[in-house]
Symmetry: C2
Subunit: 282 residues, 2 copies
DNA sequence: TTTACGTTTTTCATATTGTGAAAATGCTCT
DNA sequence: AGAGCATTTTCACAATATGAAAAACGTAAA
């Protein structure tokens, strides 16, 4: 498990991180900062709550929570609504968060491809990545149709009930798969949701064979979704592209037609970010 | 300027904030948290920097910055790139930031209108609000054309050189105008940028008369933009809608045609969010 | 391979400063 | 007017954040 130091191009090597650097960082976190960020995240999940409610639900002193909120308010990360007397996430949080997308060229590369995909298929096209065992939707181009499937960017969705999620899971090796899935019970959203590991494994094998994943009303009734993985330079699946729409337009008969476009877009994105068009052959 | 307490429906009144509540919050901010957030914001502006660089540029101890970053990393707000050995904004920041949009229904209400506006005009349609003396772009629907004006959501832009910015400035009263503009020198981006207050005032008067604002290559050469204000329930301008495109397609002759659509969309949004279709008559 | 250098972590002693309980303040509703 | 409730502030204490310096570590040069 020693560092292998044999990266092919090795643009400039790491310097200074100790030997086993998996996740041993726990003793030099700042406690008060971590507690403050807990408040920040809590507020983002449950917006529009009053101070008392927040402090009660978090089991913290109102005074402390108050000071955290006031401090964050000073930077616009949080906002106070003086009419409703409740706290919200502030605009500065949006500004900073949006800069995450700037980091990787993934979104920039993807947008023209998403648009093309949407125009070809007529359905909303989505881009997502994996984030801590969930699918994080980064960008989308909406269909012209009035009935739409809509995942606002920033939305998190469980892997096991999402097209992009399953497309990513299907490309993971055994260790990563176990790690990603651990501690995540398979919540059943509809009668079609895959709720046990054996069935999921079967489905993943099928996905690998086909090259694309189908979410057939597994998250929302009446909605179907076709997804394909995007590979980076190392041949690892780092993102997924999908189209999603109502079953009326995305029927079983449409799968053959749509999946081709989706896989094509995913391959184009893989190439655009300097990756392999297909999975790594081990 | 005292609180008027005569809101029409007054769903539930505020309780507990002391008398003069302008901005007297300064003594109960948490210093260490504020310093940590400074690091966070600094990183968002200058991504991909190494620890040493960050601490040097911020004039802080490397040890402190390190602990802040490790703490934020533990929550995914920040990420460490072990290859390049630099720090970035993390996905969790995007997740939290995106929830800012959920707070107000502004974006939800606007999207269908932006789409319609884009289809009518053929140009990219944008939605923006004012945030601390700058325009914050919240959402957009892109044109089909290959040459595009593009402000990614989350972008900040100066008020004086932006269509939406000027549309909002034009609706401010004297006090608010002064407050918004103070401490912001009029940076010149092109030869057409308005750089002095007198000229800006003239332009704002013209905008009020016309009902829409034009940014004629004032920020980017070759790009023109037509914007109109959106009013809330109190008749205050809280947002702006615009279309933007290259001067080749958005020429002087197109202004009459486009401005109608823009104003129409802005009025529709005003109504959709429960506001007045036009400015408050004082 | 060994040495030198630059960067990142950790250690450690110190006092800064974050903390919660409780009191004070301010608002709304009866 | 006054009770009741939620938000701020005060205050005394010790938890803990801090920076300097040392240690750990990887890279590049000798």
């Amino acid at each position: 498990m020693k560092s292998q130091n044999n990266g092919e191009t090795s643009p400039r090597r790491a310097r200074g991180r100790p030997r086993g650097w998996e996740d041993k960082t726990a003793q030099n976190t700042i406690k008060s900062l971590d507690r403050a960020m807990e408040v920040f995240e809590f507020l983002s999940e449950a917006q529009g709550k009053a101070l008392t409610v927040i402090s009660a639900e978090m089991g913290q002193s109102p005074a402390t929570v108050y000071r955290v909120l006031v401090t964050l308010e000073g930077r616009g990360l949080v906002e106070f609504d003086p009419v409703e007397q409740v706290w919200h996430i502030g605009p500065q949080a949006f500004v900073i968060g949006a800069r995450f997308l700037r980091r990787t060229s993934l979104v920039d590369c993807a947008r023209p491809l998403l648009r093309k995909l949407m125009e070809e298929t007529g359905e909303t096209a989505n881009l997502g990545i994996e984030k801590e065992g969930s699918v994080l939707f980064l960008s989308q181009v909406e269909t012209y149709a009035n009935i739409r499937a809509f995942f606002p960017p920033g939305t998190l969705s469980p892997m096991h009930a999402s097209g992009i999620g399953k497309a990513l899971l299907a490309e993971m090796d055994e260790a990563r798969l176990t790690r990603t899935l651990q501690g995540k019970p398979f919540e059943a959203f509809t009668e079609f949701t895959i709720t046990d590991l054996a069935a999921l494994r079967d489905n993943l094998a099928e996905i690998r064979r086909a090259g694309f994943a189908i979410d057939g009303e597994e998250k929302n009734l009446g909605m179907r979704c076709i997804a394909a993985p995007v590979f980076d330079v190392n041949g690892e699946a780092v993102a997924g592209i999908s189209v999603s729409g109502p079953t009326s337009r995305v029927g079983r008969d449409d799968i053959a037609r749509l999946s081709g476009s989706v896989m094509e877009a995913a391959q184009a994105l893989s190439l655009a970010i300097g990756g392999h068009a297909t999975r790594r052959r081990t």
